[in-house]
Symmetry: C3
Subunit: 162 residues, 3 copies
Amino acid sequence: METNAKRHFNVLLFSGDYDKCLAAFILANGAKEMGMTATIFCAFWGLLVVRDMGKISLEDKNVYEKMFSSVTPANAENLPLSKMNLAGLGKSMLVNMMDAKDTPHLQDFLQGARNKGVRFCACKLSMEIMGFREEELLEGIEVIDVHAYLQDAANADMQLFI
Amino acid sequence: METNAKRHFNVLLFSGDYDKCLAAFILANGAKEMGMTATIFCAFWGLLVVRDMGKISLEDKNVYEKMFSSVTPANAENLPLSKMNLAGLGKSMLVNMMDAKDTPHLQDFLQGARNKGVRFCACKLSMEIMGFREEELLEGIEVIDVHAYLQDAANADMQLFI
Amino acid sequence: METNAKRHFNVLLFSGDYDKCLAAFILANGAKEMGMTATIFCAFWGLLVVRDMGKISLEDKNVYEKMFSSVTPANAENLPLSKMNLAGLGKSMLVNMMDAKDTPHLQDFLQGARNKGVRFCACKLSMEIMGFREEELLEGIEVIDVHAYLQDAANADMQLFI
């Protein structure tokens, strides 16, 4: 059995759902607490969680990119639940339940993961399709391509698609 | 190539969808049949599948926990499909198709996995947020934290997030 | 570190969503470009992407199988988005954004993966439940059972459930 110091944890964060992003960040925080290294590769909807709303600009965007920027959630806390309508349970109910237990919010787990040194990457192809610019991302997010993701993931001790 | 006897299969079951839980249980059953060890770590919506409805109590729950207990599906067979509305295909149609082929139901695959010795765990943090008590779970479900899950998963030969 | 020539990439494609299938195919194409071997095991909704619409026949199907064949998307390009209603963003908008960047469509990535030698498999149990016949699949798709999938996946350097 290897020691955790040599272990690497890799997540492809495809989802832009509040609950799934929460799971990804809690796992990455846990991995770092245990001494592992960790990478989160944000692709497709997962990109929504690493945009810096203060930096988003509509300049130099085509009509689809402008529409897309306008209709997507303004920050991590505004992401929807993956099960919006499961038996009427809404996101406000989940957040209320988290508050009742003093559980940190998504934004806190994201910040915690960044403070702990989780490597955050953004998918180059997804950014091109969605019209996101590197300067619209949170500071310190690396833009990498699919090959670089695969290299990181194939060398990891565990890989998850969330 | 290792022999399967030394292999370990790990699933993080995040989903509470009938079809995704079915996939998780079929895979865990298959792994055990091949001689592997297997762990299913139930988190978030995945907790819905390991509650024992006969034991659920509303005592000592706050208002959100009571609402949540009331609105969530009463047992595994009542879980919804991940694609409720895909082209009008409903869950009753899927179950009818399974019956036409004498395919066991979700409850049967769950019981089969338990009989075969699949290790079922419940996520401590998810239980706290959702207000589930250990005594409300099916017998033999271990409550473990994220670190214990990561240790099990990082030592596994395959890890899936379902 | 192993060379990529000895590396193996494995995906269990459970989803029949356009965006998730796109992710699976882009990853498999990338893995092959890097010299890895790659397997995509299509189960449940993932089977919808490997049917050959020219070969689908309603003969010898029971009533559920006929209904199912009639209501499911006619080919890969007709698959729905996983987030149909996320802030009003529809699939036509995503496809328009892809076209604006000259990004190939799902069908092109599927064909690319097949040309590059990605191994495509279909889940035997899922086919039985859904009433799909082997002769209705695209040419060269192997029908294998859960044990054969697990053997391939446990020997892989990375496994994803998409």
